[in-house]
Symmetry: C2
Subunit: 467 residues, 2 copies
Amino acid sequence: MARPTPLSGFPEWRPDGRIVEQHILDTLRRTFELHGFAGIETRAVEPLDQLLRKGETSKEVYVLRRLQEGADDGGADARGDQLGLHFDLTVPFARYVLENAGHLAFPFRRYQIQKVWRGERPQDGRFREFVQADIDVVGAGELPYHYEVELPLVMAEALGELQAIGVPPVRILVNNRKVAEGFYRGLGLSDVDAVLRSIDKLDKVGPDVVVQLLEAEAGATRTQAMACLELAAVSGPDTSVIQRVRDLASAYQVTSELLEVGLVELEALITAAAVRAPGVVVADLKIARGLDYYTGSVYETVLVGHEQLGSICSGGRYDTLASDGTTTYPGVGLSIGVSRLVSRLLNADLVRASRSVPTAVVVAVTTEEGRAESDAIAAALRARGIPAEVAPAAAKFGKQIKFADRRGVPFVWFPATTESTRADGTVVPAQPDQVKDIRSGDQVAADRASWMPPAADLWPTVSAVNP
Amino acid sequence: MARPTPLSGFPEWRPDGRIVEQHILDTLRRTFELHGFAGIETRAVEPLDQLLRKGETSKEVYVLRRLQEGADDGGADARGDQLGLHFDLTVPFARYVLENAGHLAFPFRRYQIQKVWRGERPQDGRFREFVQADIDVVGAGELPYHYEVELPLVMAEALGELQAIGVPPVRILVNNRKVAEGFYRGLGLSDVDAVLRSIDKLDKVGPDVVVQLLEAEAGATRTQAMACLELAAVSGPDTSVIQRVRDLASAYQVTSELLEVGLVELEALITAAAVRAPGVVVADLKIARGLDYYTGSVYETVLVGHEQLGSICSGGRYDTLASDGTTTYPGVGLSIGVSRLVSRLLNADLVRASRSVPTAVVVAVTTEEGRAESDAIAAALRARGIPAEVAPAAAKFGKQIKFADRRGVPFVWFPATTESTRADGTVVPAQPDQVKDIRSGDQVAADRASWMPPAADLWPTVSAVNP
């Protein structure tokens, strides 16, 4: 087999990069669990018709086929049900809720950290296989607004925890579909989807093109289009944005109950966020989230200084996350693009692991006959929670130290030796167990039953490259 | 959407089942890391031609196709390279080693915990999508035998740790391909694969059919077939099995250098295992591992009392795990079938989680206006590592307690109240923060800055149903 090359769009990390990713996943999981979210994992596949329900995403789906399908099997797949890989964690979660509704307690809070697949053309930060970390709360029949305040704040906390390892701070941009829809309808624009679709392109194509789009696709007059652009230009970290929207509505003689409901909600979110996550949450009235079926709050998140990377954490409120015909399940949630974040951290060399293996101590082997003794030392260290492995061969100690050094392992342990006599008659005295810090070169006698490495060396640490 | 039904072969767990699975994954990971194995994760897909290299597994592969392939894209996939989902973690690991060889330090120890997919007909304990947890050590050019002793002992330790939560003990059955091959060749049977394939069916079809198979497919005489069966019948926990094989070889006038090398290796493994994992490792000369390309030790593992479930942890030594034409990479490893294990634990109700959510404390809400105070209490608890969530609504306290009870959450926290006066003039005195253990009903004043739940209640625990 010739040396294989990476597949574009299917990122993989080397062992030290995986330590960074794993640290991030562990941090997210801990924050989610501290907030009472239950972890679930769904299968990677869903029936194709369920994946295609929204239509727009059809080109992204990977369809599965068993290689010998049909040839060897007239039974299991005879219905011809096609399966595809899930392209997000929301569709499978909605299905899981319906399937298990009788066994879940609502409102149900869950987190879910899994890979998803999309057959899009790969770009920087856009992959065909990537990890998402989602939190959602779903209610049966109803879901109070306060969850729309809580969930972005949980993400603010989770992403904020990552600053300790050198992840840049985040800015969570929030908007409310009711504000946008109320304003557009109040202006006289009835094709709200078309307006949202046009506004969603603002960052990409600029205001002039958006005005043309609004006229061509949403049937807007120049005045209506300008009003939409003015709304999209409103942003700010405090509740003064609410007054600015009200002023704008007055100026364009827009009156709308929906707009007013949306503004009250948005104000509540900004007010709570100013207390619980100061400086993180910013109202930004241009956030549209394209065609996703959000009905209230919408969220996007940028990494400060890396805004061009796009959103690393997005979501919003659905009035109908799922429905079985009898009960409707509204939900609100956000999804972190973990692979997008990790690829930036690693490729821009922002964050690094202190070593490439868990091992804190390599136990040297004096002779192959004495390997059992080295095994026993390693076992004694592990029993006290110290990651340890035994050297691969009874090579010269210099080579065994190099084995540790290449992996960034900080300590090498030398087993005790008994008194021996060289061929020339020199007596080599007995030595106790010794441990060497190979960074400083310090070597000291050590007791396998009590020695501990410094806490910072026990496990690999992850930190900013230039803190 | 009508209520969906599960897909056969694609297991999913409810939140309390996922806590059991997650606990097992955490335990395995910790053991692997204590032994210095670096975690990696590979993409879910491999080029189809790589997946089909061994031929025998072709019917199991799921092939991927982008739904709009060809229609919208003349570029990225123009080569027509087909991708399939990996059916194990060994093929991707071998590819990862070749792809990253210049950046890895050998011998390279890695663990990998991921889903794999096989389009086989689903059965009890046999799934189309399932989680494997693998450890392997791979060398560049050479890999000393002692790793064939070490790796099953790491698995013995990892699986042994699970007994604390009620997982039955395991028995690791070991054999050595050199023993089998040396014996068969010494007998005059040259089609070793055909013999192994026949012997591999022993448990399924019984000795009489195996004798017929050996005659029909391996060209064995009745005497040769009986000798193979006699070898397969040898098993035992100590090195007496080595002598029994030697006696058998003598009786059939088999002399083979390969057999002798294999017996020395097998003896070393049994001897070390008797010291380091007493009672767990058993030599069993019928273990063949079918057509996998093992060249030395082979391993299978049964759950004691659940032998009919099949092996839950298998593997062996490959002299050529991977090769780039210049360097050959030998390896040895084992793979735990996590989903097979977890499905048995849950379906047979052997192991249970103490609750279905991480939450230790539900903070009650007195009035919706006072929700911010409940949020602040929950934040104070979380800041000290206590998983806490706030009740969904300012309902009657009885209803809020029921919310906690339905999830198995042990504590409900009632925010302090100030003195108030009822309509009838009764003065209700101020109350401090209080916490109720809803199992005992005990309710006491508590300080949000210092109260801790008992350690056993802090996080969900996992334990045997009938310990």
